[in-house]
């Protein structure tokens, strides 16, 4: 039980609730009016978007994936950042000029169709739930790793915090809260990096690249919490207490090369210099293979890499909670400026996870055995720096992790609740406040229940599934909706359904049937690379077939989307265009 870390997490949660209730912008004299009614500067809005975007998957998950998977996993942070380049170039300004607040709004503004709007709403809810789930799991992992709390507790606490914030008056100053959480996250991940690198230098800078597969430097005791299977390449002598390969063991033991099963509660003690047995599902990589691309031992690694790039590059523009934040920008130009700044801010953050991944192989290799590589960011400070400094740094990363899952979970819940209350709950409940609260409860309770019965997929991988669905649905919709005037409502609806169903089915099948191998496995577990072009083609073909349904007044809409507000031609053109 780490008291400092517990305090740090509690403090972050309290600050979140407190800042949400507090309004920075209360002006009491007319002199303050100007400040109180001025729009947020682009860099602060960008901080808020980054704060909402950098989730538990980024803070904890990316380092874990890099630790286990090496160079291929570096595409995760790269992809998370590059998504904003496409968003900036193709979507940010026109979307802002459309006046839309949510993605369903955009469908209505561009296609004038309630049908497409409803399909988009359902997809927003689906993507939101897929995305909240790993946040709750990340919270569970953090509380379990640092405080020994039961795994379900973290998710419950996050859900409760989010509900308090929303039911108790909403996010009064969401931009302030999320912006603050971005800077907290950057400091919480960057500052420890400096200490970690200094400690690593002091330890004679061992290399993770030129070495063999990870070994235990010292005599190490590892306790296993779940029933797992591990693989060893060569005979290994160790001590064990508990149940190994279905036999009670207490004392010295020799493992032959092959797979060994460990029951929950077993304790293993390895001598110094022993190679680290890996969880069966993780590849055993030596330093060379770890640091090179496409050496991760996965089938069709090249396809998987490109499919991941597809999902992350294109998925970002379809994330509902990110897009709503662009509404705060006063115009299209400011939206572009914000997106540009986000690239810099997010890029800065993503420098850190690779360092944790690399140092994790040297100093916390036992995570490769237990499979809990997502915990590497939380455990490294104590393992490498240690002492009081280690405790303070642990508290700092704990606060950062808490900021990560809280920020993303609240942002997503508010967005999903907004869409639910507008298009689904609001049809049954008239009072807008009640309907918003009911929707917020639904938005957070469904993923919580799913999370309670769930095992864990690596966090960053789980989030990439939400990206894949977003890439296969909203990215073709936005790209065609903004840049192709002949998109029709029927085309958009069919494309959204085809892309959404294809991506979801692929993900479900690939997780329900883990034994599939070869191309089917690769295609199903990384569906974005084929589902997105499929949805795009569907939209184009169906739109051409239903050409008579082109949105009435599409030229006016296009003019509005693409003309900078400053030009001012819109008004006169539009006035002349109709009637």
């Amino acid at each position: 039980m780490n008291v400092l870390a517990a305090a740090a997490i509690a403090l972050t949660a309290l600050v979140t609730i407190g800042l949400a209730a507090y309004s920075s912008r209360l002006a009491r004299t007319t002199g303050d009016f100007y400040v109180a009614s001025r729009s947020v500067p682009a860099w602060w809005n960008a901080s808020a978007i980054s704060g909402e975007y950098l989730s538990a998957a980024s803070f904890l998950g990316v380092a874990g994936l890099i630790m286990a998977g090496g160079a291929d996993a570096v595409w995760f942070p790269v992809g998370y950042a590059v998504g904003y380049v496409l968003l900036l170039a193709l979507v940010a300004a026109p979307l802002r000029r459309s006046g839309a607040y949510t993605l369903p709004d955009f469908c209505e503004a561009r296609l004038r169709s309630t049908g497409v709007r409803l399909i988009a709403s359902a997809l927003v809810v689906l993507i939101g739930w897929l995305y909240v789930l790993p946040q709750l799991q990340g919270a569970g992992l953090a509380l379990h790793t640092l405080l020994g709390a039961p795994v379900w507790l973290g998710g419950v606490l996050v859900s409760v915090t989010v509900l308090i914030v929303i039911v108790g008056g909403g996010m009064r100053s969401v931009t302030l809260v999320q912006g603050f959480q971005y800077w907290l996250k950057v400091v919480a991940i960057m500052l420890p990096v400096l200490f970690l690198l200094a400690a690593w230098r002091a330890d004679a800078s061992p290399s993770a690249v030129s070495s063999s597969a990870p070994v235990f430097d010292d005599r190490t005791t590892v306790s296993v919490e779940n029933h797992i299977a591990v693989t060893v390449d060569q005979p290994l002598v160790l001590e064990a207490a508990g149940t190994v390969d279905n036999q009670r063991v207490d004392g010295a033991l020799t493992w032959q090369a092959g797979t060994h099963e460990l029951a929950a509660g077993t304790t293993l003690t390895f001598p110094a210099g022993a190679p680290v047995p890996h969880l069966s599902s993780l590849p055993v990589l030596d330093g060379q293979a770890w640091s090179q691309p496409l050496q991760g031992g996965q089938e069709h690694a090249l396809y998987r890499t490109f499919a991941l790039m597809f999902a992350l590059f294109l998925g970002t523009m379809g994330l509902p909670h990110v897009l709503v934040r662009f509404y705060t920008n006063p115009d299209g130009r400011a939206a572009r400026k914000t997106a540009l700044t986000v690239i810099a801010l997010v890029g800065l953050f993503y420098l850190a996870p690779s360092v944790y991944g690399m140092l994790g192989r040297l100093y916390t290799p036992e995570l490769l055995l237990t499979g809990r590589t997502d915990a590497v960011v939380l455990l490294l400070p104590q393992a490498l720096v240690g002492g009081t400094a280690g405790q303070w740094l642990t508290a700092l990363v704990a606060a950062g992790a808490a900021a990560a899952f809280l920020a993303t979970a609240t942002g997503l819940t508010v967005t999903v609740a907004g869409v639910l209350s507008q298009d689904i709950v609001g049809r049954k409940i008239d009072d807008p406040i009640v309907s918003f609260r009911v929707a917020a409860a639904a938005a957070v309770i469904v993923p919580l229940l799913l999370g309670l019965v769930a095992d864990t997929l690596p966090l960053a991988r789980a989030v990439s599934l939400a990206f894949a669905v977003a890439a296969a649905t909203f990215s073709p919709l936005l790209l065609l909706g903004i840049w192709w005037r002949r998109l029709t409502d029927v085309g958009a609806a069919t494309g959204l359904l085809v892309g959404g169903v294809a991506a979801t089915v692929a993900i479900v099948v690939s997780t329900v049937l883990p034994d599939v191998n070869g191309w089917p496995a690769a295609l199903l577990s990384q569906p974005a690379a084929w589902a997105m072009p499929l949805a795009l083609a569907t939209m184009v073909i169906v739109s051409r077939r239903t050409a008579h349904r082109i949105t009435p007044g599409v030229d006016r809409i296009m003019i509005r989307l693409h003309t900078p507000e400053a030009v001012g031609v819109q008004r006169t053109w539009i006035a002349r265009g109709e009637r």
């Binding site: 912008r25 009614s37 729009s39 209505e108 809810v125 999370g451």
Partner: protein, 391 residues
Amino acid sequence: MNPWVLALAAIAGAVVLGVVIAGWVRGRARMGTEGQMATYRTLHIASLAAPALRAGLTESAAQRSVKHLRNLLGVQALAITDDFSTLAWDGVGDKQREVAATHARAALDSGSAVVLSAVQAREVSEMLRSGIAAPLTSEDVVVGALVAYSDESAGPALMRAVEEVATFTSGQLDLAELDRTRARSAEAEVRVLRAQISPHFIFNSLTAIASFVRTDPDRARDLLLDFAEFTRYSFRSHGRYTALAEELRSVEQYLLLEQARFGDRLQVKLRVDPEVLSVRIPFLCIQPLVENAVRHGLEERDTPGTISITAVERGPDCWISVEDDGVGNEPGVIRRSLSGEPGDHVGLANVDERLRQAFGDEHGLVVETAPMAGTKVTMRIPKFAEAVTDE
């Protein structure tokens, strides 16, 4: 993540999607007797055509409704014309669409339905044998015609059907005219509001400014500039909607001018979430409320009064409220003036009317008041509304 969870998630997603689509489709297919089904089908087709026509007899409205009207009549081709050209065509013979305008001539001139000759019908397509042109009216003026072509000879049944559909369409056009009249009258009211910047206010402001000219010339200059800015905004001629930030700037200038007059007696609290500053609201929909608050909250007493203006983000909506701690009012009085009776709260009724028009009836003003308990006026503005982005 356990496979079952993902399966569950997918099922949950599918259920949501299903519910949504079912809700959308529901009411389209419901069983009944043949007669009920036929009635339902006819009314449903008519209801499909109606919304487009509510825009008036424009080309896009005609194009959107012509298909449904032809379905309703079950004829081979249908044209909608205005008084000199064909606006929309559905069915066979699209290439000959311009000829419909000449076929409509007789109906347009006589103001009653006319049977076309078989020769005329064949000008459109070889397969057609008869045609009927019926005039469309709006407020008793002939504005266009429906021209229906059939491959059977024209009987009295078809004649009556075309006439009835023309009457239905004319009814929709009348409603469209009514909508336009309402919009025009609301616009006129905005113009009145602008012109109505009360003479008292102008007089009071100028006197207050004059009183500073010697003692505090800098402040007098600032106030004059505020006054200029305020009037420029209020008199601007374009656009029915404006960003909340712009409206607030004008409110700020207004309050500065009032403060010059009331001094410390007027306290102001402002709380605005930056997230909603770019929400589009009807032009001049907050300023009249603030003016009301100053008048009823402050002018009738000597002690300091406070006016609070808040605009907060709440999910997909922005809630704006203007509150004073003044003498308040009988709720009945406010209810009557909101329902249009002339009285002390013209601004209130006008804002209410324009909000309902822009965002729908559930977005009218909510007024909370009681004698000696102050007044709070709240409005709920959707961050996105198609009517608003359309402009």
